[in-house]
């Protein structure tokens, strides 16, 4: 029996079980497949290093064409205790601003290297998510995790992404910018997690990104997700105590699969007490549809809404995106898309148009 056959059996078994755990830096995949984040990612709340199942999924389910039988393939496992992985995103972006020369850039959006060491398998592990580019190497996540498989709980401590809403690949989505919690803003603290067949819950206590460089302040973030094979519902809250002013954020998010389309939605409400006028309430919303045209081809349409200050009338912004994601072979994806920002007419920036092509390598 080849290793390929073993992996495919693993995959089939996982699909049959259905409500195991999967993938969230592209959470539509989790909704499409009916998994939780932890099925495909070492991180229970998604993003970063992929599990063995995540690699099998990336090799066999995502791409338009799988590799021929017998071709050696990356599994992520190095020895019995170490897993390695990474992501590379490089893109060309063209931004059009009214009254200004279009801006075009080629850039490396990110190169990440991941490593997880199972020091005591299924009990104690250490994980690092290192951003290698742009800039010098910097740890985005670095934590140690104690796991109690019998109760489905874990405790991790270190630098980590906070659990709040959909862990989107697009860190500039209104819901991620407004909440201030994304994969671009890791924080240092503790996370207590609870994973059951249909439930996933986390409670994190951290320093607070706004408190960086300060010796006071904290942030408490919690999330609960109810996962069914065809849909899921989640809620999250985050309370930040800061010398800059306290901040309260709440999110409701949901995902549902209807035939070939995976739908994602999120509403975030944020009240910030650290702004010059005293306090400000903001609303951000995301609606996303992912149409799996056929294996390896995904059309993603998103509609976003932002009210940056609810007391101010006529300042709302919208953002519309259309993206095509083509995964021709395992571990390689091409993405091309258009984004249209609409905002108040006197702001050039809020009315920009963006086109981009991205190459994404992942392993």
């Amino acid at each position: 029996m080849t290793i390929h056959v073993v992996f495919r059996l693993l995959l089939t078994l996982a699909c049959a079980v259905g409500s195991w755990t999967v993938a969230c830096a592209e959470p539509y995949l989790a909704v499409q497949q009916g998994y939780k984040c932890a099925a495909c990612h070492v991180n229970a709340t998604g993003g970063g290093l992929r599990t063995e199942f995540g690699i099998v999924f990336a090799e066999n389910v995502l791409p338009a064409r799988t590799l021929p039988e017998g071709v050696p393939v990356w599994t992520g496992r190095v020895g019995d205790f170490l897993r390695l992985g990474g992501d590379l995103r490089t893109n060309w972006t063209r931004t059009e601003l009214t009254g200004a020369k279009p801006q075009q850039t080629f850039q490396i959006d990110q190169v990440r290297a991941y490593a997880a060491m199972d020091i005591v398998p299924e009990r104690f592990s250490v994980y690092v998510d290192e951003q290698i580019a742009p800039g010098n190497a910097t740890a985005m996540e670095a934590w140690a995790r104690l796991t109690d498989a019998s109760s489905g709980t874990y405790l991790k401590a270190g630098r980590l992404y906070l659990p709040f809403g959909w862990r989107l690949q697009d860190q500039t989505a209104f819901v991620r910018e407004t909440s201030g919690i994304s994969m671009a803003t890791p924080d240092t603290g503790l996370e207590l997690g609870f994973e059951r067949e249909h439930w996933s819950a986390q409670l994190a206590v951290s320093h607070g990104t706004a408190n960086a460089g300060q010796e006071s302040g904290h942030q408490v973030t919690s999330q609960v997700v109810w996962v069914q094979s065809r849909y899921r519902l989640g809620g999250a809250v985050s309370l930040t105590q800061s010398d800059a002013g306290n901040r309260r954020a709440g999110a409701l998010f949901a995902g549902v699969r209807t035939g070939p389309v995976a739908w994602l939605g999120e509403i975030d409400l944020v009240r910030d007490g650290g702004v010059p006028e005293g306090s400000r309430s903001m609303i951000a919303m995301l609606g996303e549809a992912n149409y799996r045209i056929r294996k390896g081809h995904n059309l993603k349409l998103t509609a976003e809404y932002l009210d940056p200050d609810r007391r101010v009338a006529e300042d709302q912004q919208t953002r519309w995106s259309a993206l095509y994601e083509y995964t021709p072979m395992p571990f390689l994806q091409l993405r091309a898309g258009l984004r249209r920002y609409r905002g108040i007419p006197q702001s050039v920036l809020e009315n920009r148009r963006v086109a981009f092509i991205e190459l994404h390598g992942f392993w």
Binding site: A210, L269, D272, M285
Partner: protein, 280 residues
């Protein structure tokens, strides 16, 4: 439950989502989306002064993330907090580099971040579009000009607010520890052993005869003070502490202001003059 946002707000949010909001028409707002109030505003071209940069760059672009209780890296760039968060403040990502180092845009972290060559992390504004070169050059010019808060306002020079020992004081110990307090945090990146000079004076002529080897340090937790410690025990005599004339060794504040009395002429600035009688 008072910490959880109200149900009414959720209801409104859902209602808005059902209407699938359109962008606002901007009536009564400035280009940053803030209500227009009498005076000020963001009209006019970008110029190399803080107020203009705040209204054209920091407020409309940076505060999308860098504001309030969720500001990344604790960097708040709203109109109330931006100056204090930037000028003379070490960056969190590279603490050895000031976010804005007056007079030195190349060594200011904000420039490194918006030009995309900072040692850590992504180019700003995060996700783009990036600032055009003309805008970056204007911010550079503001920093080169001393990163002053007021538009063209003449800033008060750095002043000595306290000194110990004071003139005519007697020191109880031969190994002297001199402390000077200043009106502003010192720019520690410009400090070195040549930033101040301790000299023993000839009792007859009052002229300096021997330089005294010293170490200097900024006390932990008090960046407005400078500590001067003699390398060896001193003997009885009269001493003076001066800031040498060479401007490159300058003792200056984080805003780039030079010491009061330091002008274009190469004249040392006297900080202190005191008598030392060593207790036997």
């Amino acid at each position: 439950m008072k910490y959880i946002l109200r149900w009414r707000e959720w209801g409104q949010a859902v209602a808005i989502s059902l209407l699938c909001g359109c962008a606002g028409n901007g009536a009564g707002l400035d280009q940053s989306g803030r209500p227009v109030t009498g005076g000020g505003g963001t009209n006019g071209p970008l110029t190399a002064d803080y107020a203009s940069i705040q209204s054209h760059v920091f407020t409309p672009i940076c505060t999308a993330c860098h504001a309030g209780g969720g500001a990344p890296q604790g960097l708040r760039l709203d109109a109330t907090n931006a100056y204090a968060s930037l000028v003379g403040v070490p960056s969190n990502e590279v603490p050895g580099v000031l976010r804005v180092k007056p007079g030195n845009p190349g060594n200011s972290y904000i420039i490194q971040k918006i030009e995309g060559h900072a040692a850590v992390g992504a180019r700003m504004p995060f996700g783009g579009p990036y600032l055009d070169q003309a805008t970056i050059d204007t911010i550079r010019q503001w920093i080169t000009d001393g990163a002053q808060r007021g538009a063209g306002a003449a800033a008060a020079p750095l002043a000595v607010t306290s000194i110990s020992p004071m003139s005519e004081d007697f020191l109880p110990d031969g190994r002297a520890r001199l402390i000077a307090g200043f009106s502003e945090e010192l720019d520690q990146t410009r400090l070195d052993s040549g930033s101040v000079r301790l000299e023993r004076l000839d009792p007859g002529t009052g002229l300096p005869v021997d330089p005294v080897a010293v170490e200097i340090a900024v006390p932990a937790g008090n960046p407005r003070a400078l500590m001067v410690i003699t390398a060896k025990a001193l003997g009885d005599g009269r001493y003076r502490l001066v800031v040498p004339a060479a401007p490159e060794t300058g003792l200056s504040g984080v805003s780039g202001r030079r010491l009061e009395g330091a002008g274009p002429e190469p004249t040392p600035v006297l900080l202190d003059e005191f008598d030392l009688v060593v207790q036997k």
